[in-house]
Symmetry: C2
Subunit: 428 residues, 2 copies
């Protein structure tokens, strides 16, 4: 049994203790709720929380004979993901108090596994650029990163061991890096998005936030709806060290941390080689802009026509305006560009198990802008590859900076195995 407080346990530790009878679902839930009570006024991670209802469900789990792989593990859900027993407001006053009639697929699968839904976590408006109330858990003058702001902050601050987020640009990777937790974006299309607000279907995925690789792997199997398998051991992976075209825009400290990590991994026995992405990848920023704009502007047709004045000016003049300006021919051309780069990247993985790349430009910046430096993420989101962010660095201000590992589409399990090896070298 870990010596840390119950709310600091990982999901894997909680499951083992409950199965062994050394902890109860109620005690775990109570520890998380106590932490939230103490810290929520500063962090602001939660959009909706009903502690009494959570405790009642925890007691029901304790009484139940069902034995799911996440039995008794509390989780938070980004508030653009539907829940049948809590409001879902998509980060906008337009949908204030809206109650979906059923759970999103990923929420239903979490509950089927025995996980305990704590509450809804704060997101930016429509998972886009306008921030919610969440602050960085380690420094309230800084953003936790968005758009999965509350999910990342809650996991980082030991309010919940697991949380669901989403990603259309960098909405899981970025807050994971800023807050210092593991953030996972699955291969695009793998985890069902039924019941998740569609921002841009060509790019959207569910995202997972946790405090260990094993937790990420376990939770991924649960939301994928497959039998959980442990993370495999693997020999030192073949690593491509990727300094993309935007490398010089990263903070110098981040460049240095990543370069030192690559050297350290090589010294530990991994074949590490510099990898240069084909020039076409520089066009993916533009592809992301137009594809996501085209799709978001149409997905929000109802809000645009009925609640235009309640949409933030930043969103109206950003993606929505891009979407109105984008022709179908441009949209198709940009989708073809994405597909072309997907194939190039698939081929490139013949020589590498994983790529090592930046997960953020630097530490969480001061101020509330929730989605800085979108260009860090667009290459990987548009090419549909799985990504895992590892909380392995500290920046100049002492705040977390992540490293991103990327694998070939469909090779998410290999990503976890390689990530465990990498993490052990960098953190041990």
């Amino acid at each position: 049994m870990p010596m840390r407080a119950l709310n600091e346990w990982t999901a894997t530790e909680i499951v083992a203790a409950i199965a062994a009878g050394t902890a109860t679902c109620e005690a775990v839930a109570r520890a998380c709720l106590d932490r939230i009570a103490a810290r929520e006024p500063q962090v602001g991670a939660w959009q909706y929380l009903d502690p009494d209802a959570v405790l009642a469900q925890a007691r029901a789990l304790d009484r139940s004979s069902a034995r799911g792989p996440l039995r008794g593990v509390p989780f938070g859900v980004k508030d653009i993901i539907d829940t049948c027993d809590m409001p879902t407001e998509y980060g906008t006053c337009i949908h204030k108090g809206h109650r979906p009639h059923k759970d999103a697929a990923c929420v239903a699968l979490s509950r089927r596994a025995g996980a305990l839904l704590l509450g809804k976590t704060v997101t930016t408006e429509f998972a886009n650029v306008t921030p919610g109330k969440t602050c960085h858990p380690l420094d309230p003058t800084r953003t936790p990163g968005g758009s999965s702001s509350g999910s990342a902050a809650a996991v980082a601050d030991f309010m919940a061991p697991l949380a669901l987020g989403t990603q259309t640009t960098g909405s899981t990777t970025r807050p994971a890096s800023f807050c210092g937790v593991f953030g996972y974006r699955p291969t695009h299309g793998d985890v069902r998005v039924a019941g998740v607000m569609e921002a841009s279907g060509s790019l959207d995925t569910v995202g997972l936030l946790a405090r260990s690789i094993e937790d990420i792997a376990l939770y991924r199997d649960v939301v994928l709806g497959v039998q959980p398998e442990p993370v495999a051991d693997m020999p030192p992976p073949r690593i491509g060290f990727c300094r993309p075209y935007f490398w010089q825009r990263l903070e110098p400290a981040t460049q240095k941390l990543l370069a030192e990590a690559a050297q350290r991994l090589a010294r530990a026995g991994a074949p590490v080689r510099d990898v240069t992405l084909p020039a076409e990848f520089e066009g993916l920023e533009e592809a992301h802009r137009w594809v996501s704009g085209f799709e978001m502007a149409r997905n929000l047709a109802w809000e645009i026509d009925h609640h235009w004045d309640e949409i933030s000016p930043a969103f109206r003049t950003g993606r929505v305006q891009d979407g109105f300006a984008c022709t179908y021919d441009r949209y198709c051309g940009m989708r073809r560009r994405m597909e072309h780069c997907q194939r190039l990247l698939d081929a490139l993985f013949a020589d590498y198990d994983v790529l090592l790349a930046p997960a953020a430009a630097g530490e969480a910046p001061v101020g509330l802008h929730p989605v800085p430096h979108p260009w860090v993420y667009m290459i990987w989101t548009t090419t549909h590859v799985p990504s895992l962010t590892l909380p392995v660095f500290k920046g100049p201000a002492g705040l977390p900076v992540g490293a991103q590992l990327i694998a070939r589409r469909g090779e998410d399990r290999k990503l976890f195995a390689a990530a465990r090896w990498v993490y052990r070298q960098l953190v041990a």
Copy 2:
């Protein structure tokens, strides 16, 4: 002005007459509602209809100064597509009376264009195999085809000029062929599916049903959210006559009708050549089965866990059971197979503008089975190509049989232009 009754006008005719002041939105709506009142007891196309509310909205459209490209055109909406002012029940008693809080993107875009939502059309359970109440408009002992049963029957029976459907296997193509209307499945991913029940995201599209190619093209621009463009004229298209591996399973009369049509198009001046699909395409039936099963079983996790006994045995032992049996590795392999065939088909279109292929095995069969002969559709659905079904044949019982035209992904406009040429040769 057409001499036919108002409810028999096409959308394009209605728009022109209302713009010219020779018809009102209310008169058009009333004509459709009168037809429904007379025929609904036999056809059973509607899941929800509130005539007074429709007339009130029609009068509001008449008073409004807004001039959308579908002003005053009544449309029906398959009941797996969300509407903010009508129930949406997904063909199941589980969601009886459910009221979504907003319109699906395709519904909101239709209303933005000035179209008038008549009501919700009958679908099979979860757009799968268990039939609703709709009968074939020309023969009540037969199925109208599913799963967009009510949408196709309503358009065929002159209850509405336009209807929204969806397609995951052949759910637009099939009922269009059976009922004798135009049925269009867009390039996968083009038309947003936000607010449409996800059956299987790797396959799902919105589908359109109408009584003219011009109506299909106009409505496609509306739901795509782009400026409408007229159907282009084109010289005789290069046609690939496609007799896929399942050709011998078609009814002999259907084989003969298609072969004669190919000859007629060649005589009219089109370069028509037999096209043989690569052998890999025979594996797409299996790919469709496992991919759709895997995704449906996860999308319906909430219903499976909370309402198992209210799911029909046919669905439980069909796709849902397949979904439980399918491993992730098999699922990934099948998705790769789909992608591989998509690329092969893209390349094949270097030599053809469109392919001519069966849209059904034959006429609508006697009985209520709503989704016979799924193998006719799987090649095209899994490869994400756009498809237009033309009501050009009569079968041995005097009932409609369609011909399917298929174009390269993203070449939907060329599909319409080629289809107009083909339609004129076959029906003139």
